[in-house]
Symmetry: D2
Subunit: 371 residues, 4 copies
Amino acid sequence: MPLDPTKHADWEIAEAAEKTMKTVYQLGDELGLEKEELLPYGHYVAKVDYKKVLDRLKDKPDGKYIDVTAITPTPLGEGKSTSLVGLVQGLGKRGKNVIGAIRQPSGGPTMNVKGSAAGGGLAQCIPLTEFSLGLTGDINAVMNSHNLAMVACTSRIQHEFNYSDAFLEKQGLKRLNIDPRNVEMKWIMDFCAQALRNIIIGLGGKMDGFMMHSGFAIAVSSEIMAILSVANDLKDMRERMAKIVVAYDKKGNPVTTGDLDVDGAMTAWMVEALNPNLMQTLEGQPVFVHAGPFANIAIGQNSVVADRVALKLGDYICTESGFAADIGFEKFWNLKCRMSGLTPHCAVLVATIRALKCHGGAPIFPDPDCP
Amino acid sequence: MPLDPTKHADWEIAEAAEKTMKTVYQLGDELGLEKEELLPYGHYVAKVDYKKVLDRLKDKPDGKYIDVTAITPTPLGEGKSTSLVGLVQGLGKRGKNVIGAIRQPSGGPTMNVKGSAAGGGLAQCIPLTEFSLGLTGDINAVMNSHNLAMVACTSRIQHEFNYSDAFLEKQGLKRLNIDPRNVEMKWIMDFCAQALRNIIIGLGGKMDGFMMHSGFAIAVSSEIMAILSVANDLKDMRERMAKIVVAYDKKGNPVTTGDLDVDGAMTAWMVEALNPNLMQTLEGQPVFVHAGPFANIAIGQNSVVADRVALKLGDYICTESGFAADIGFEKFWNLKCRMSGLTPHCAVLVATIRALKCHGGAPIFPDPDCP
Amino acid sequence: MPLDPTKHADWEIAEAAEKTMKTVYQLGDELGLEKEELLPYGHYVAKVDYKKVLDRLKDKPDGKYIDVTAITPTPLGEGKSTSLVGLVQGLGKRGKNVIGAIRQPSGGPTMNVKGSAAGGGLAQCIPLTEFSLGLTGDINAVMNSHNLAMVACTSRIQHEFNYSDAFLEKQGLKRLNIDPRNVEMKWIMDFCAQALRNIIIGLGGKMDGFMMHSGFAIAVSSEIMAILSVANDLKDMRERMAKIVVAYDKKGNPVTTGDLDVDGAMTAWMVEALNPNLMQTLEGQPVFVHAGPFANIAIGQNSVVADRVALKLGDYICTESGFAADIGFEKFWNLKCRMSGLTPHCAVLVATIRALKCHGGAPIFPDPDCP
Amino acid sequence: MPLDPTKHADWEIAEAAEKTMKTVYQLGDELGLEKEELLPYGHYVAKVDYKKVLDRLKDKPDGKYIDVTAITPTPLGEGKSTSLVGLVQGLGKRGKNVIGAIRQPSGGPTMNVKGSAAGGGLAQCIPLTEFSLGLTGDINAVMNSHNLAMVACTSRIQHEFNYSDAFLEKQGLKRLNIDPRNVEMKWIMDFCAQALRNIIIGLGGKMDGFMMHSGFAIAVSSEIMAILSVANDLKDMRERMAKIVVAYDKKGNPVTTGDLDVDGAMTAWMVEALNPNLMQTLEGQPVFVHAGPFANIAIGQNSVVADRVALKLGDYICTESGFAADIGFEKFWNLKCRMSGLTPHCAVLVATIRALKCHGGAPIFPDPDCP
């Protein structure tokens, strides 16, 4: 029996529910997963081996594909995730075999004005701490994979400056002639590190390469996170991983991760991350949490892989397209669905009174205390 | 039956052995762990809940504490980890209840001149891929925890510049007056990103704070990794986490993570990381892998927590102090042991012919191809 | 007898003519200048003490004021200065008491695609070397005066950071609270130093102040050069010199040279520069050369002071408004004439066949060799 | 009759004396200069055409060469210039044909703790304002000449990056391969601009070249000022001007101003500056003022050219070697005299009580008000 949401904070409700939640083994059994298909990370979260599941059930027809989106929200968000979790719990209560599929939150918005992205009140995704603090490490994997490309790029510029054509050839390297003033890729970190948004790197002298403009973006905006969202499988991910444009050469031609020969190592960091993460609602329905948010600066969609696995395991699959219908649902429909070939059977549009008021011109964010 | 090391590479031997290795559940059973004490990360690696184990076995006497170190090595390393794993396997073959305790490798040295840090030949620690690629994410946790302090510091400078004393007070903040030219802490990343060693940050204008010198160090050199090594428990870690000096104020007084009120959040990122990771040797003996390397730029010791858990679970515990006796064993003896109160019963000193030659003046690294 | 312009370069014609040119003492005599009104700089260039001349001749009516401008030119320029010098020489040959008034060239365009700004062929201003290489140092004076304001600004930021309110008060200083991210003024140099256009300053540590974005502009674009152009006298210059906005404080209020208490010292550097420079045409008519070019990035007008002195000393005064009628004549008419109260009696519009072709759509700059 | 130095400031004494001082024409007559050898800059300062004088008097024997130096001084300076001017005035009063030869002050030390470098009290060099504010522009000429080398260097790096070998060859350019991380020369400015001491340049993007560490030094520390000090004539100056090391190429070989083909233009800026400047003492003896100060960071000697001219025109020549005997006289003796071939007949060593006290260990700079 959950706590009363009119008297308790979201995290209190979550914490109380976690005392009696299902283990991830039990969740796996209910989903009909084989033992080796479930990769536990502690007792309450697991990764699911997408490939084994999809191979085993390749002939089973998919469940119903339901997308939850919203009207353009206020800065506080409009309960899209809460509605999705509520929908999953409601269908579950009516005896349906239902699975949720949502995105993993970013560690970035430290000021925490928005909700936890895990839903709220009596419609949440648990365990909450794991959900909020990096889960099984997928964002960290994206970070290491992404930054490895930049290490390769800056080292290569340095290397080519120091050595002759003959020496490079002996090492099997073709001179790439990257223009240090035209490195397009930036580094990433899972924080809103404003102080790192615009930086100059390479000040350390001869051993540390060339000075150049650079910067850190928030991790979930990485092209690698987009690849995690839309890749159909490891092979597809591997191919996309080689096509990332890192910089341009002196003549303006693109230099890719493939040209830098770093795509293999980058993919190695992402192998485990491609398996979707299994959690549960407050009422015990399974939820896959995979890929990242922010459709304004990223694709911002739950992964194709998670959706595919869920469509094989459940009858009703509620997936989410964030940042409102005008950008999030657009990207769901015109990018993600085109790439996956999946088509939704139904869409749910969340609209709050507060957002409708804003649409009508009401002030969004009165903050009389701000100087 | 392992592959022949005269005909196969280390990774081939490891890969072959992984096909028949014990599951981590089997390892846990052999160690006498209760079910809730073992937190699996997939089927072949687990974290062990140190607190539950130490509470349950607090009255059991400790096993023998054996430290493995080496003479000053060559740039290639001298097989310290290999000797340690070999010693564990040898004691195991003689029927002893033995446990290894080693450090997790850094993702930094991408050029991979040194060995894998997992040992080599027939004396290795498996599964090798997990071992090499971040294991259960402890280094990532250190990275997020560390960088959070820098986000807090740079945001605070920005915040204090923008707002009046009265407004800060209303937010419960005392003006810290951090000198942007005297921020001692740097950021970290788990790569040798030379281009990031010396950087200027904060170029983005008013919203992005103040320009200042900064830089990225390699993740394992973080003070938080040192804290992970020497903390006796979560409470000890929490206390140490508040005492990290981030910067100095205008008058030259230190400003700590505690002053920035970020120590709690930093600790939250590290809670799971404090549990040591359980792996196995090629011959199936348990090995704890915990905390980071590089005694030259860090403490570079396996964790106190891992040693304590191993000392309760085994009769013979082989731990490792890297970077040779003159710095690694020194730090083991005069820092780690003083802080833990533990004393070794025996020390093993690895010495190779090659290192002895170098000590005698032979050239270290003939590289005739280098221009 | 000058050299044949179809057979000789401009500089050869100038050099030949310089062998028999008038001394500046002879020029002064012909203009009726008193001995102390003429300040020689070598034997062929002088400054004229504008104040003494204007005081002595304050009741003499002005001569005719003729402005020479041009249609929008090609990148090569369209002979505006050449036409002006030719006009002066022609009126002189007809026995008129005529004086030219032109701007001093910038040392910046080192590639020298454009002409020398001294005219060309048989219509030039001499001595040419002095004309081209800084003349009597007015641009250097602007440079020192301008950069002094930036030294004062950056020192003040540093000073206020280091000291308490009480200490500043003891020094008679009110805290200005300059925002280092909002320093609007840049430094200047009399070169197209592209590498200095965007720079970061203050990297040297505690003694060298705060890091900030900055840059060097070309000297003649300085607001001080504009003041030199439009000032009616030293008092007017002094007043304008205190009103230059250097930066903004934390609240966004402007901080001026007057607030920095540096306007007096800046004016001191400019006292001599306010006296116009006297040179001659190839045929011996007097020409005043004063203030700087580039109406696109500056006011780009010959000085009011030079025009006033010339109007008292001659019957016909040919002044120049550069960068074509659409910007240079506009600034002459709507800025310079409004500020001086002078009105021209006549305007000459230079139009070349080449410029008319470009106006009609012909290609401007065929450069087939450029890669 | 001068003002009473116990009741009046130095500048008041100077200003009063300037009302009756000799014109520079009168000074020239007394020195026996031909009309074309004297190049007036206004009525009270002139440059002297060193070449014409030395050619005319090449057979006249030199006067006596007297060097004035000092013991290691306090931060306030020890009256070396004052003693020199006093010595000149004293010898003059005794009817000797005496000439002083001192260095021009830098505009840098704006805080003005030290004296004016023009002497003090009743032993000063006038007119004082011209003396203090750039005189005839020699330092500005050094500045323009020096910075031109840096413009050439940074443009060349940019140019070589943008163009192919074939295109460079068509322009008559050999690829210099300057290493942007190894540009040794800095820019100069005649101020203590601390904020410019360490800077990063070239941030402006493709058109503005490469980012690199750079900085501004004080103008008088330029190698070109050293060349002005020691050059025997224009030809010597021209040769030295081509040998300045600006940067190093990728292989570590020096790249000079000659390699950059900028030595001719640099020399053009310095032609006039090579003529020494003529001024007078409070009592009307002639003083040459030429080249720059600061033997700690520069050669800091009056010019060889000025000394040579004075030695031809006078019987007793008092020259000055600043920054005390241990560095200034050392540089006079072992650098300047070796290069000129001149040898002094006498040296005067200034020693003050205050400096002797400091040598004995007394506190140098009590400043109780500094926080």
